[in-house]
Symmetry: C2
Subunit: 253 residues, 2 copies
């Protein structure tokens, strides 16, 4: 059994989070830099929208009674919109008002003292979905009809920003950052998207950089440079009494 040895970063989202374990993915990069400091938990669910994510999140985030036994989630990222923004005739579609409501539901689960999942030490960051390269994706899924538009996804990115402002949760506006980096052209997005929808390693590098920037700005105590290794560096182990120097140095932030 895995003991409650390290606190964690939990990444909740859709396929763009799930694939964060790829080589150069943002979760792979986080895991490498936070090694021996915070464990990284990927709760990305390919194809999911916010409506379907809520029942899963209820099972992935611990309720109060289990909290003494399980790792703390120091940082939670919530990153949806890529599927919610499908066209209304698709199963994955969620309307913008409902999308915003669902984001608030997830945030309130963690933040409201009356919630079964209340966790006052968990910091939250929202991310906006990346821009879609419609030409590339349409070609890939043809002859099936195209399922997304560039404007629709932009509207969901704006909705994430709105939800973040309303709930006072920091937002990494990845949509805008990627669009700027792409020179505000679909063609330019090819550098960052591998199939018009999902990020490649260069796209994920931007996600990672933006996330670390947000951590530095809003929750600097959670930057990897500020956190100690939970088990000491080997050259500080006492040779006379190693066991004494090998106790967990985990501290509550």
């Amino acid at each position: 059994m895995a003991a409650n040895a390290l606190d964690t970063i939990m990444l909740l989202g859709d396929s763009i989070t799930q694939y964060g374990w790829e080589q150069g993915g943002f979760i792979q990069r986080l895991a490498h830099l936070y090694a021996r400091k915070l464990d990284v938990i990927n709760r990305g669910l390919s194809g999911y929208n916010t409506e379907w994510a809520i029942p899963v999140f209820e099972q992935c985030f611990a309720k109060k009674e289990a909290q003494p036994y399980v790792p703390k989630v120091k940082l939670l990222t919530i990153w949806f919109g890529a599927n919610d923004a499908c066209l209304p005739n698709r199963d994955q579609y969620v309307s913008i008002p409902r999308f915003i409501e669902n984001l608030h539901t997830m945030i309130s689960m963690v933040r409201e003292p009356s919630s079964d999942w209340y966790s006052p030490t968990t910091r939250i960051i929202l991310l906006t979905p990346p821009p879609v390269n419609v030409a590339v994706r349409a070609a890939l899924i043809a002859p099936r009809e195209m399922d997304r538009t560039a404007d629709q996804t932009k509207a969901y990115a704006d909705a994430v920003i709105k939800a973040g402002e309303e709930a006072r949760v920091p937002v990494v506006d990845l949509w805008t950052k990627l669009w700027e980096k792409a020179g505000e052209t679909e063609e330019g997005l090819k550098k960052y998207l591998k199939d018009g929808l999902h990020l490649n390693a260069e796209g994920y590098e931007i996600v990672f950089d933006q996330l670390i920037e947000a951590i530095s700005k809003h929750f600097p105590e959670l930057h990897y440079d500020r956190l100690p290794q939970v088990f000491t560096h080997w050259d500080t182990i006492s040779l006379e009494n190693p066991r004494a120097s090998l106790k967990s140095q985990r501290v509550d932030v």
Copy 2:
């Protein structure tokens, strides 16, 4: 707080395990393929030998009283020897008899019904340390005196095999596999070692392949192709009653 949502693979070892989160590292590859099936927990400790790892392992593996609340470790890899095999005048040195004893101690912690850490459903795999490229490492750490020899590390690889045979635990003999791949020359090792001691992505690819081969042979029920996603694929979600189809499908193996 992170709920007990997915079971896990725990990787216990030294720096060669810790750096497994690098791009192309064996843990990154495992995490990607086991996404939504098993979480992957990196308990690699740069510089550590088996002597120092035991007190840490006691804190990372759950004792019986916590076990109802924490994720099961379905698979545990134990991979040491690279530091234990330092020359006897170094702090990291552990004698071969003691090294073997320490491996048995870790295995018995998990396997012995009388142990506080007893976990009968945890499968164990041992790995042997990779061969050292003495010329490369000696040049890198000069003018400090060289700390390892090729023969010494080979003797610790043999010791892991011996411990595995005695305890009837499968062993991934990485030393032999890498040495063969290198054409049995130090020069050939350059393809797999980045600094004479630690693996690069090509070296880690071999570790990954060998580990999956050992899983397929000894614990096929734990191969990623045999495990279901804990939360269902999005296109099987019931649109009439999504919540009902979004219950965890975790099963005890």
